[in-house]
Symmetry: C2
Subunit: 455 residues, 2 copies
């Protein structure tokens, strides 16, 4: 009998707690949906600063934007954390295609990030199309030597979670130049990592294998790639590639922006939530990742505006250089290790400012289960998926270095790879309610973890 | 022992069936995500026909579009079903506002659908602002008489499911003119039914109470409404309203477009799936409800392309006149009753071409439970919510008349009331993957219901 009474009491307590959490969840939602400033902050970042590749003057302006808004949000303390970053500069570029005996025509293309261009000279060569690496391997060296290889691997529209398609295809962006150069190719064209029913080319990071010649790499939008595919099927195709892109030798001093609310009960236990402040040098870096930065600041603002003092210390971090070096994430991890900080959890929001659907978690099953016990609280906010193990690139360094559990906001993924790394990733592509709803769920998640002392 | 064996066999059978369903679900998804034509069909409707209010020449063109595409999709039979519809015509209109002793300035406004305008004359009057009906009731008759009442009721951004906000606010659009006229008002201005962080005014249907004078009603976009609110707080505001809108006396002959696949096992049991072909006379009726029409046609196309012959007869119906009369839905119900048809289920898709999140259901709890037993099959497609009882306006007539169970596709609702009934509801606002994913889920749902003979 006593046992049953205790069980009953425990059940009642847990239900009262759930009811209380649900009230706070609603307060957080109302505060952000009605008074949130993330959308307006993002507008200023996109329209006032614009794109902001690491090391650029615009990236320095973005740091100022972050510092100012973190203070306005009411963080107890705001500081900059130094990170020395590479500076990749695009310069002028063009890609012209000639099918058969036709004229050269300019196509819409972008050099891939970190790649070395043609040094401004024109590289004219035959285009050889392959559908994938298997087809490339089967080519005799004579078919590759001196030519431009078109890796026509298609971004798979049949994956519903589009990050799966990205994971499937991105190796063609990342590694093709060295693979092609090892067999004597002069340049590489790829099909963009794109779901777009349009012709925007998508840039993004690539890397060279040491000791192999660095050849240029350009990405085509889907419509241009479809055309090139048809030309190649019909006969001989030639291309003229010209680009000035290169990485400057000397790293440039830049910064992460950090804002903090001190925890009431465990000031030394830190929950980090962040996005990245740098973007590629096209568009406005709206979804990638102005959205995540604006949301991370909003978390701080919402706690302060509601007068909720979290038990753990909450740190919003705007990381520098996620796109082409991860130096900000590394600097953050190094600093945490040097100061012997106790990081309870690190959360990233870098999957676009779309309506949230879930939280990814990479942590022990025990911790996951503790969180999942509360997952129905998120249902009224459209969040139901706690099955993925997604964190984020910026927090991967601290995850590895200090074995910190990580989580990531999982917004709806349908539109992300339409705009990702393109001139079309602009403020107008972000919906105010979707952005705010993402910030709402992030704040609710952090509140929950801190309030229930899950870590 | 025997009992346990039977139980085991039942469990195994049900799991084998789930695995089989899951394979068909994937085939449906691949077919639509890779080869779906709904996005291209929608483009032609939006750009080739444009907006298409009932009774207009454009609506007649839309009927032709529907018939053609239903045939191309491979329906066993395609026919038109007559429906006599009202024709509301907007004509020219303008709203000018003067704050204090300032100048009259034009604001962005739309007359509400079915309303009678000023007969082209200028109605100049004082603007009296109220926040809601309670405030209006408290006004003395002298404060209303001859004036234009501004019902400044705010569309609530704190509801996460935006249709809840619509349900909360829409009475101000629907009924305000008669309520205001009963107390002597000369005209009505409302704040649009809008989540928009912009100034697009939203039209939509209203009605007059018989025997009360028909006064004009116009809606303002959110930014203009915010300004007008400020002006009214500061002092006297006057308005000049001019509009020619009216309903023509004689109904106009129009049509529903119907395409059918005959069922293999129960040809006489019909599952209807539909959206509405008419739109308001602004924008392109892309989300409302070109999307639903294109998706309904896609259901037919997918069954045919995959060679799946459903057990029940599947009927895609493009209803006419959802927006301002529901004459198409009524004609469909009347015909079904007259022919003594057995309608197993009617499904509507009229909540925008956004990424799907659920299916609403209005039917017996027993049927709901039968469907919910399969709901995990939808999770990989982002669909998790089977808790709402939403059908749709077009199928409400057959639901009432023949007691037909109904269901409705529930897409993400965040962006719907940004564009709903505005000049901004254009093709560019529809994402190709979101639209196709909605069609995928509709097709999967219909396949499931038919294959498992749930009705």
């Amino acid at each position: 009998m006593k046992f049953r009474l205790i069980t009953l009491a425990a059940v009642l307590c847990s239900q009262m707690s759930l009811a209380q959490d649900s009230v706070i969840f609603r307060k957080i939602s109302d505060e952000i949906m009605l008074h949130g400033t993330c959308y307006e902050n993002l507008r200023v970042l996109c329209k006032g600063v614009g794109n902001r590749i690491s090391g650029s003057p615009a990236a320095a302006k973005a740091v100022e934007w972050g510092k100012k808004n973190m203070k306005t949000a009411g963080a107890d303390s705001v500081w900059l954390q130094a990170a020395d970053v590479p500076y990749w500069h695009r310069g002028s570029e063009s890609l012209l295609i000639k099918a058969g005996n036709g004229q050269y025509k300019k196509v819409s293309a972008l050099s891939l990030g970190n790649s070395e261009g043609t040094g401004g000279k024109v590289l004219e060569a035959k285009v050889v199309m392959v559908a994938n690496y298997d087809e490339f391997k089967a080519l005799p060296e004579s078919a590759v030597k001196g030519n431009i290889i078109f890796f026509n691997y298609k971004f798979r529209q049949d994956f519903i979670f589009t990050f799966q398609a990205y994971g499937d295809a991105v190796k063609y962006r990342w590694g093709s130049p060295s693979i092609a150069a090892a067999k004597g190719a002069a340049g590489v064209i790829i099909r963009s990592m794109s779901t777009g029913a349009d012709d925007f080319p998508h840039t993004g990071s690539m890397h060279y294998t040491d000791s192999i010649k660095k050849i240029p790499e350009m990405a085509l939008g889907n419509i241009s790639a479809d055309s090139l595919e048809q030309y190649c099927k019909r006969g001989t195709v030639k291309a003229k590639m010209q680009s000035e892109c290169h990485i400057t030798d000397k790293p440039i001093r830049s910064y992460n922006v950090i804002g903090e609310i001190k925890g009431s009960k465990y000031p030394d236990k830190i929950i980090t939530v962040g996005g990245h402040l740098d973007s590629w040098d096209v568009g406005e870096g709206a979804h990638d990742d102005g959205a995540g930065c604006a949301q991370s600041i909003e978390v701080i603002r919402a706690f302060k505006a509601l007068g909720i003092r979290p038990k753990y210390t909450i740190r919003a971090v705007l990381f520098m250089n996620e796109e082409n070096g991860l130096k900000g994430g590394q600097a953050y991890a190094d600093s945490a290790a040097a100061k012997n900080e106790h990081h309870a959890l690190a959360i990233e929001t870098d999957a676009g400012g779309f309506a949230p659907r879930g939280m990814g978690m990479e942590m022990s099953e025990e911790k996951k289960d503790k969180i999942r016990a509360f997952q129905n609280l998120f249902l009224p906010y459209g969040v139901y998926d706690f099955s993925n193990d997604e964190g984020g690139a910026d927090i991967s360094a601290i995850q590895k270095k200090l074995n910190v559990p990580v989580a990531g906001l999982l917004p709806d993924s349908q539109r992300y790879f339409d705009v990702h790394h393109t001139n079309n990733d602009v403020f107008e592509q972000v919906n105010h309610r979707e952005l705010k709803l993402g910030a709402t769920v992030l704040t609710q998640f952090i509140y929950l973890v801190s309030e229930h002392e899950i870590f």
